[in-house]
């Protein structure tokens, strides 16, 4: 094994350990701020794995989107709702943990089996390193043109929707009739089912000949 290979192997081991330990920490630590920072660490380590695979563009995208945007957003959200609140203990928490652990372990076993029994015979095209960015650009404007253009519609619509849902409203009346409105469903809130007085459907059904 040459020096280059062993260095690469060591880097791979270190990054994988960082991903695994970080991910366990994200799930298991009780303090959500630690979890959020560890999540950032996991994203960084995954970016390192992409670099090892010669996929520098994907690594950069991972850094910018996951570490730069998603993780910072999560931290902002935690800061904004930083309210001390004692949560009631969930009944049967131990059983739930064991159950969900069993489900996850089962899924892991299934994935491992699939991974090891499948002959991944096709290695795919060889890695082209720095040329990947150019190749991605070519793909975006040739065989991935339609999804690329559709993604612009998706982003535009998501932005408009986010603004509509988040903004303070400038008008509070029906534009046609001028009545006051409350931006709620037209079907007004119902009393809970058991308190409903004129529960008329049941008698009718019973009277059916």
């Amino acid at each position: 094994m040459s020096i280059a290979d062993s260095t690469q192997f060591l880097c791979f081991l270190a990054l994988s350990a960082a991903v695994l330990l970080g991910a366990l920490g994200v799930v298991l630590l009780p303090n959500i701020v630690y979890s959020a920072f560890l999540l950032g660490g996991v994203f960084l380590a995954v970016a390192g794995l992409y670099l090892l695979l010669n996929a520098s563009f994907v690594a950069a995208a991972q850094m910018m989107i996951y570490v730069g945007a998603v993780n910072v957003l999560i931290l902002f959200a935690i800061m904004l709702v930083n309210k001390k609140e004692t949560l009631a203990a969930i009944p049967g928490l131990g059983v739930r943990r064991i159950l969900s652990g069993a489900v996850c372990a089962g899924l892991l076993g299934l994935l491992l089996r699939v991974d090891f029994t499948t002959p991944w015979a096709l290695p795919g095209p060889v890695s082209i390193g720095e040329g990947a960015t150019i190749r991605i650009g070519e793909h975006l404007f040739s065989d991935y043109l339609l999804p690329f253009e559709l993604a612009s519609v998706l982003l535009l619509m998501a932005m408009i929707g986010a603004i509509v849902l988040a903004r303070r409203d400038v008008f509070s009346s029906d534009v046609i009739t001028g009545e006051g409105v409350d931006q709620g469903l037209i079907e007004k809130a119902r009393t809970p089912l058991l308190l409903e007085k004129n529960l008329q459907i049941q008698p009718v059904l019973e009277k059916t000949p």
């Binding site: 699939v114 998706l154 534009v175 931006q183």
Partner: protein, 550 residues
């Protein structure tokens, strides 16, 4: 929203169109060089692939209408409520006309194989576009009455339509995912559109969480399929790779993809989101979700399961049989206990999806044709029912079934329309729904799916029971037994702007539902042309008949 945000895509549009029309395909592929199939003997096939942007002309019409809605909306709420409806009618009408022109045209893959405008996709895109058109017709008054912005509402609904339409014709994993997300994200936004209402926000949040999980599962399945092909995302390559694939990985990919499809069509046990989302979303949005979104889900199911997983037919047909039986039984039985009209229609739509799955499981020509026919029939009868309950809630502010008591004396139109649509949903002759359902059961019986057909028949009877109890509630009650809401029923007026489109949509749906059954021969031939004009389905049918003979 800002001016810049609205203008940006408009500025990008001409460039996109110019690109689409004069695209030097072959030269670019030559420049790309090492594309996987660029061996010399494959070259003619590659150069024969054109951009063929005309294939998405119907989607382009929807896109133009969406951008025009956003632009008009900049001029204020008054201008929006005046101009957005005609813009939407024009866009969707143009889209439907363009779809009709594509019907039976010589088949050419578009966008280098990411999109295929075959007859199947045209039929489903037509269903999606019509469902949007009808949902918009019944939504203007509802949206204005609740005081939410009309322009953005129409734009987001049109974006959802665009996503659903592209999904119906896409033949590439990346296109499928992006269009699925366009549809889903737009649906989450629309579900939470009544933002001051806690129920609407809850619906949106639930839909977002469950939908994101489903999207992640789909991505995992798609990445496994991508790994199997060794570097191609086209569904043809996936189908080829799956023929020689080993079982575990392909089975896992099948389960993941199937879970997403089942989520989209709300099949039991992937249905938990449906009742809460349907109850909390604005009613016109529910109308779109129950027809348009579901049609796109079925198109996706056909495209992936029938087109790609041919070698795993037994497995996925077994899974879908289980899903169909569960959906029919649970959807129709739980619907019996509902007191809210929207929740009842939610469970009924789960049951209806179960009926449509019979056609999918058959895999014969009749089965596919019956699916297409049932979706088309379901479009009119379900939207007709929704038009009626929207009109009722606009007048009374209620959607409780018990509040419909004695309605026929105050509002004969709603009573008649709702009765006809519900009878048709239950499958009572001579409505449109009866013929569609009998065709489905006939196809299932001919393909020896006896269990499915028997379960379908029994649950149809159950569904007739709860549909008829609503009708009984409206018609049989004496005036003094009428509910308080009906006793205080407001005088009927159609003068307010936005009520006339609602009336037009209601009457159209009800007339088609009532008369369509008798005049259904053209619809039958249309549905079977949709199947014969689709090479993918033809291949599956030949394969199925060959295996049944041997």
């Amino acid at each position: 929203m800002t001016l810049q945000a609205a203008l940006e895509p408009v500025l990008a549009l001409p460039a996109f169109l110019a690109l689409a029309h004069s695209f030097p395909t072959s030269s670019l592929l030559a420049a790309a060089g090492a594309s996987p199939a660029a061996s010399p003997e494959a070259l003619p096939a590659i150069t024969a692939l054109q951009i063929n942007a005309g294939a998405i002309a119907p989607e382009a019409a929807v896109l133009v209408a969406m951008l025009a809605c956003l632009l008009v909306d900049l001029a204020g709420e008054k201008a929006a409520s005046r101009w957005v409806p005609p813009i939407c009618y024009a866009g969707l009408g143009a889209s439907l006309v363009l779809l009709a022109l594509q019907w039976n045209a010589p088949l050419q893959p578009a966008f280098l194989g990411s999109f295929l405008p075959d007859n199947l996709s045209i039929a489903f895109r037509g269903v999606v576009a019509s469902s949007t058109l009808l949902s918009l017709l019944i939504s203007w008054r509802y949206v204005e009455r609740s005081g939410t912005p009309v322009g953005e509402y129409a734009a987001i609904l049109l974006a959802a339509t665009l996503g659903a339409m592209v999904l119906c014709g896409s033949t590439d994993l990346v296109t499928i995912f992006v269009s699925l997300e366009t549809l889903s994200v737009a649906s989450y936004l629309l579900a939470g559109y009544m933002k001051r209402d806690a129920r609407s926000s809850e619906a949106s949040l639930k839909y977002l969480l469950v939908g994101s999980a489903a999207a992640a599962v789909f991505l995992y399945g798609a990445s496994l399929l991508y790994g199997l092909t060794g570097g191609s995302t086209s569904l043809d390559a996936v189908a080829l790779a799956l023929q020689t694939a080993t079982t575990p990985v392909a089975a896992l990919a099948l389960v993941f993809v199937l879970a997403t499809v089942a989520f989209k069509i709300a099949a039991v046990p992937f249905h938990q989101w449906t009742p809460d989302v349907y109850e909390g979303s604005p009613t016109p949005v529910v109308a779109f979700l129950s027809v348009g979104s579901k049609a796109a889900g079925f198109a996706l199911a056909l495209r992936i399961l029938v087109g790609c997983f041919e070698g795993f037919q037994e497995q996925w047909k077994l899974l879908f049989t289980v899903l169909a039986i569960l959906s029919m039984v649970l959807g129709n039985i739980v619907a019996l206990a509902q007191t809210s009209m929207k929740r009842m229609l939610a469970y009924s739509s789960i049951g209806q999806a179960g009926f449509v799955m019979i056609g999918l499981v058959c895999g014969t020509k009749d089965g596919f044709a019956a699916m297409v026919l049932y979706m088309a029939a379901y479009l009119f009868m379900n939207l007709g029912a929704f038009a009626c309950i929207i009109l009722f809630s606009l007048r009374t502010g209620s959607d409780r079934i018990s509040d419909y008591a004695g309605l026929y004396q105050k509002d004969p139109l709603i009573t008649l329309g709702l009765s006809l649509c519900l009878l048709s949903l239950g499958g009572i002759p001579p409505m449109l729904g009866f013929f569609a359902k009998i065709y489905l059961f006939f196809a299932g019986w001919a393909d020896h799916q006896y269990l499915l057909v028997v379960v379908g028949l029994v649950t149809s009877v159950v569904s007739i029971y709860y549909y008829i109890s609503v009708i009984k509630m409206m018609v049989v009650k004496e005036p003094q037994e009428a509910s308080d809401v009906v006793k205080a029923y407001p005088p009927i007026t159609w003068a307010v702007e936005g009520m006339q489109p609602l009336r037009a949509a209601l009457i159209t749906c009800v007339v088609i539902t009532a008369v369509g059954g008798i005049l259904s021969n053209p619809v039958f031939s249309w549905a079977s042309t949709a199947v014969t004009g689709t090479p993918m389905l033809q291949r599956a049918i030949t394969l199925a008949s060959a295996t049944s003979l041997s």
